[in-house]
């Protein structure tokens, strides 16, 4: 007969991978902070808008990219609608990077890594880098003169560090798959991590702010 009190036997969850994962998920973000309806009073500046603008632009980038994928890689060369969707994709990417760079500079001047937020900064920087790679492979996947020239130039850079055989910029089939599968998955995953970390610790308080002010 077990010596554990009956009440403890009832409420203590059994040791299992499922329970461990659930505990991990539940404890990652404080209760109510995953999607809060309140924000600290110091969140009062236009600079905060650029984080959500970056996410909004990323949404438009993915959506327009999906429409381009429906038509296929050559569709936009032969269809005026396809060309317009390509234009939407291009300009949403330009906006995405513009918003992201302003967001990054804003977070730099806030020293937003304070208060155990270093990983939040690191994931943001990695998201920026992965986005550059994604955009770059997009330029290589256009199947036009830009793709020819950019790939011809880029091969020297990537070959010079010995990885050109694995990431062959002269192979548009490989670059297209990196552009539409591997790198978007990386950007998506790191963005989710970044947003979860932001919600975990909340928006960084002003420099030298006292607790609870």
């Amino acid at each position: 007969m077990s010596s554990v009190p009956r009440a403890e036997r009832v409420h203590r969850p059994p040791d299992s991978w499922t329970n461990a994962l659930r505990e991990r998920i539940v404890s990652t973000v404080p209760p109510g902070q995953a999607l809060p309806d309140r924000q600290p009073v110091y969140v009062s500046s236009w600079i905060y808008v650029f984080g959500v603008l970056t996410l909004a632009a990323l949404t438009v980038v993915v959506a327009t990219g999906c429409v381009l994928a429906v038509g296929g890689s050559a569709w936009w060369h032969v269809s005026s609608l396809g060309h317009f969707v390509n234009s939407l994709h291009l300009w949403s990417v330009e906006l995405f990077f513009g918003f992201m760079v302003i967001h990054l500079w804003g977070k730099f001047w806030m020293a937003a890594w304070r208060g155990n937020r270093v990983l939040t900064w690191v994931t943001g920087a990695v998201a920026f880098l992965a986005s550059i790679g994604t955009a770059f492979t997009g330029y290589l996947s256009q199947s036009n003169f830009d793709s020819q020239w950019i790939s011809a130039e880029a091969k020297d850079g990537i070959n010079s560090i010995g990885v050109g055989a694995w990431f062959n910029v002269l192979n548009p089939g490989q670059m297209l798959l990196w552009h539409v599968v591997l790198l978007p998955l990386a950007v998506g995953a790191i963005t989710v991590m970044h947003v979860v970390l932001v919600r975990r610790h909340g928006v960084v308080p002003p420099i030298d702010a006292e607790d609870g002010e």
Binding site: V49, A56, T64, W149
Partner: protein, 331 residues
């Protein structure tokens, strides 16, 4: 209203945390804020802005250069490129890894990174010319020239092709018809036939199929095109040269990839602009700078700049106005 946090309190976070007393935001006073409404508004605004920009500015789509287009626009360049491929003096023939072992490749701090990558995409430059001619089942003179080429010793082949490439270089406009008489073996016939194959429009397929119905790899075709002068001349005419910030630009008056400005910048300035190892050096430098960006919060001095330069006073001006510091208290 202060919301309790479940993350570890500062006192439990070790020595570094003791120095950095910044708290989670959940312990600060709050006000109502509709995050979902903000995102939806941002999504609508960005969508409208995107539609406006796309409608007004469209997007560039300069057609790709075809081999037939290259042959029509610059036939002498095609012949010169073919001769260089046969002589083994073209850019790709003397490139090194990953295409061949003809060169050591670029180095960083004496480390031959390019060589270490290995020859994993072997490309025989002479085959870029000979394989299409063979597959095209050309006329009798071409087949005879191919047979002559194949039966000759390697040194003899190189001698013919090098002599012809040099002669083309000396001819007015590189015109094959104006080349001085010399011992070129079958090379003039081979290069002329190669030009004919290119003009026929069949060269792309012969360079990309590799015996496979689905030819998705353009490596050999792009190497051949890059070995000629026409591609670069076309790019420079559009201000896309390597020393024209070409890596971040695109055709027409479009913004291109301005986020690559720093990478492109290094190619414009010494010592990179004059270095034989510029690519490897720029990559190495960018990797260091990238690590610096990622781990900027851990770099003393740089991480202190935001505290020393009071841009944060502007960002949080409402907060600082409502929470003035007491005398002697830092801000």
């Amino acid at each position: 209203m202060a919301i309790p946090t479940r993350t570890r309190p500062v006192a439990q976070q070790g020595r570094r945390a003791k120095e950095d007393r910044t708290r989670d935001s959940h312990s600060f006073a709050t006000r109502p804020y509709d995050l979902v409404k903000e995102f939806v508004a941002a999504l609508i605004a960005v969508s409208l802005l995107t539609v406006g920009l796309a409608a007004i500015f469209s997007s560039p789509d300069e057609p790709a250069i075809t081999m037939a287009g290259w042959a029509e626009a610059a036939p002498n360049d095609v012949v010169a490129t073919a001769a260089a491929e046969l002589a083994g003096t073209s850019t790709s023939a003397s490139y090194g890894a990953p295409y061949n072992s003809a060169a050591e490749g670029q180095k960083v701090l004496r480390a031959p990174l390019q060589k270490w990558g290995g020859v994993r995409i072997p490309v025989d430059s002479a085959a870029l010319v000979l394989a299409p001619l063979t597959q095209a089942r050309a006329d009798a003179p071409t087949m005879a020239a191919l047979a002559t080429w194949r039966s000759a010793a390697a040194d003899t082949r190189i001698g013919w092709a090098t002599a012809y490439a040099d002669a083309l270089g000396k001819a007015p406009d590189g015109n094959p018809a104006a080349v001085a008489a010399g011992s070129y073996g079958p090379v003039p016939v081979l290069t002329r036939s190669f030009l004919d194959v290119a003009l026929s429009g069949g060269l792309e397929g012969q360079l990309t199929s590799s015996g496979n119905f689905y030819g998705g790899d353009q490596t050999r075709a792009l190497l051949l095109l890059s070995d000629g002068a026409y591609l670069e001349d076309s790019a420079r005419a559009q201000h896309l040269g390597g020393d024209q910030w070409g890596m971040m630009n695109e055709t027409g008056d479009y913004p291109g990839q301005p986020w690559m400005w720093l990478y492109t910048f290094w190619y414009q300035v010494p010592p990179f602009s004059t270095s034989e190892n510029a690519d490897a050096q720029v990559w190495a430098l960018m990797m260091v700078l990238t690590l610096g960006l990622m781990f900027l919060p851990l770099i003393p001095g740089i991480r202190d700049i935001p505290r020393l330069v009071p841009v944060h006073r502007l960002i949080w001006r409402d907060y600082y106005r409502d929470h003035p510091r007491r005398p002697g208290q830092a801000h």
